[in-house]
Symmetry: C2
Subunit: 239 residues, 2 copies
Amino acid sequence: MNKIYCVGVGPGDPELLTLKAHKLIRNASQIAYFRKRNSTGRARKTIEKTLQKKKVYEYPMEYPLTTEVDFQTDEYKKTLDDFYIKCCAEIKFLLEKDDLIIISEGDPLFYGSFVHLYEKLKKDTPVIFVPGITAMSGSWTNAKIPIAMGDASISIIMGIQDEKDIIKSLKSSQTAVIMKIGTHLKKVASALKKTNNFNRAIIVEKATMIDEKIIPLKNYNEKRAPYFSIILIPYETQK
Amino acid sequence: MNKIYCVGVGPGDPELLTLKAHKLIRNASQIAYFRKRNSTGRARKTIEKTLQKKKVYEYPMEYPLTTEVDFQTDEYKKTLDDFYIKCCAEIKFLLEKDDLIIISEGDPLFYGSFVHLYEKLKKDTPVIFVPGITAMSGSWTNAKIPIAMGDASISIIMGIQDEKDIIKSLKSSQTAVIMKIGTHLKKVASALKKTNNFNRAIIVEKATMIDEKIIPLKNYNEKRAPYFSIILIPYETQK
């Protein structure tokens, strides 16, 4: 029976693919990936050189709506669910011919979109996951920030959360990673100030990509940050 | 000026090295790595096939004491600090000849030991980091557990922490990863029970290695777990 391989391709630098991912993608006869309308998709862009000129059938799963905002309406949920059902049907059709490689930016099981399909497919379809370097790891690597050492705990926080929940998470750990900043920059900065973390915070835009930016948050003069930017609270020996 | 490349080699499966790490290690004339006394060292073991028969100078940095327990005594700290100073001197000596590749299990800036040396070296020595797949990512990948989706936050907790701090972290997030379980199994299990997380917890021993084990915690009958085992609290749609 043919299998799905859901393969993490890392944060953007093609050299950060694993050997396993590279081999699977190089040998693929068909691949699939999520992307926003009218875009190449970040995962697809990352493997441009890996695919080279080889003939591969590509199935882009194009979101019917933007996913940057988490709408809570029933209509939005229904539209997305219909989309996922349609993707699953097409995937099963493709699996009749050969294995299918689904490429996923970062690490598939760490906030990856394929999980929505996995929940529907796993009963009767074999799925193998291959981990990838996360964007947060790409961020702390290029910023040369030890995110944690020894017995320190880390909170991984989403920018959309309420300020009081962000503060609660920041207080429960020694260091933190705050993801999906976007329009939440002001609120996140406020939570960081209230917990004495603002002055040491670093913001990273587009980790490991050509246009990567690494800036101390106190010197960051934007009103909002790109959706995929990440704020890091470095580990401090004295805290 | 010659450089240090501190390269993550991932959780144990040699196929999980990144292309970048693979290339750097293959082309290395000299490598260094931490290891416990009388052991090969996990990072070194992972790159056995990568090195093949090539002649490479190896500098094993052998811990004078076990690092599995975080002793708080001054004597312990002094012994370790002397050890790090000795390592730095040897590294600087090696750098006079060529670049040095320091291999690190997992991801170097995520609880990696090289950071102790980096703090001493960074003033006058160029250091480049290469990220690696973490053991926690290897764990949730092979256990096929979506660790987080959408707006869920994650706590990364160390087993050595007090039960009340573990509970605080568990309550501040939707999902969690608990690392370095070892002798702390009973305390961690108690914290998981008190926060209603015990029944869905999964324990992973030796993620991605040949003798990997993935067991629901409620079926795990050991009195203590290996030091490097990891407990995962999977994401739940309804919580």
